[in-house]
Symmetry: C2
Subunit: 239 residues, 2 copies
Amino acid sequence: MDTGSAIDLAVSTVIFALRSNDPLQPRGEPTVWIPLVRRLRAPYDNHWALPGGPLGADEGPTDAARRALQSTTGLQPKYLEQLYTFGDPERSPGATRVVSIVYWALVGIDEVAHAPARQNVRWLPADDLPTLAFDHNLIVDYALWRLRTKVSHSRIAHAFLGETFTLADLREVHEVVLGKRLDPANFRRQVLASGHVVATGGMRTGGRHRPARLYRYDQSMSMTDHGPLGPVLLSERNS
Amino acid sequence: MDTGSAIDLAVSTVIFALRSNDPLQPRGEPTVWIPLVRRLRAPYDNHWALPGGPLGADEGPTDAARRALQSTTGLQPKYLEQLYTFGDPERSPGATRVVSIVYWALVGIDEVAHAPARQNVRWLPADDLPTLAFDHNLIVDYALWRLRTKVSHSRIAHAFLGETFTLADLREVHEVVLGKRLDPANFRRQVLASGHVVATGGMRTGGRHRPARLYRYDQSMSMTDHGPLGPVLLSERNS
DNA sequence: CCAAAAGTGTTTCAGCTACACCCATGA
DNA sequence: TCATGGGTGTAGCTGAAACACTTTTGG
């Protein structure tokens, strides 16, 4: 029974990446940034909004989220997970009612630098945004909260990094996301004890100090969370 | 731009309650049960399915979930939270494509007993279900997993109980949900230390043993999780 | 040699587990 | 008085936090 509902169904994605605050100094303290797209029509004409669009007729929501990510950043997500579905009638005032299935994603720091700049897309710091379209400020805040809780008791922080990384890199990701300093010695022990990370044998030299061992993530699981469907969450469930 | 999408949007609810296995012996070991409704049309004619229905044009998803709960059990939920949105194109084979926003809920054990029996509604044990309609077995399994993880590191178990309860009652809920025995002494200390529970001053006598103190939940927060919207999650976030 | 970060060792403390023990009631 | 569960006390283990200390590089 198709009721011919008057409700539009859309998918949006909150995309997180780490970027240095000062573009002239790529080695500076990074913070969390997200890409937004400029709206070109009412309501909220000219406001920034989360990337997304209507759910295609033969497309799953996860595919739609990945498509939104691709079209705004040109990147593949290192991590992708459904966040929440927003459907209150009042959330799109004056317009057709829209129910949004929202995802959140992580992309690697080095890939962002090489991605081509897109028209009407701008990266902004996630914790200091202007007023966005619709309820998107609320959505970003919720996604940020989810990112922080997930980083604190799961092991996804490496999704912000490239293929290999030092433990100092990984610790910096945690520090930036959680907003506090972590003891290098204890952080090292916890990460190594978790077994999620494997030494490559390589070293990173160049600092005026002892070289650091390089690690890579133990890729026994892909980094897309298919929710209750895929095998990924199954391994998440057991952890 | 209303695309006049051909996708139906529905809301379903996984409703959990504790029931004794043996209806003749209400004091027996309870287990987790859920109410299901019998489908009266294809596809999956005559199969059991989660209660729910299409999202009303002027109705928020949470209201729709509460409505599904009301119409099948006649009850108010003690706890209600969005679970996940299922939208893969293949999940309703041969029928109009349906995207389902699924909620999960807890209702009190004593209220269920007094609720009127409804036509085409039956309570079944959650961990031993027959083949349900659509992907509803998967959804129930996911909701069960979420219930267990939430019970282990949040304080919602009391939502299965009535207004007042003994710590043994509360411990039994944990034991049934988690499927393992808990040390009474340690459980008591952890619950009391959490501060979420307050002694009423009353006692429950009648057992052939020392009377037990009665407690009630510290109602500083309502037990509906409005996701990122309401004040509830804010307090949840800080815990 | 010095500064700085990598990496190791060790003490301390909080929280949880296990379990011994006493208390109050019904039969 | 005995069986039963309510309720308290406490020793021991484990893991995290804090921090002293050694190692290895660049300048």
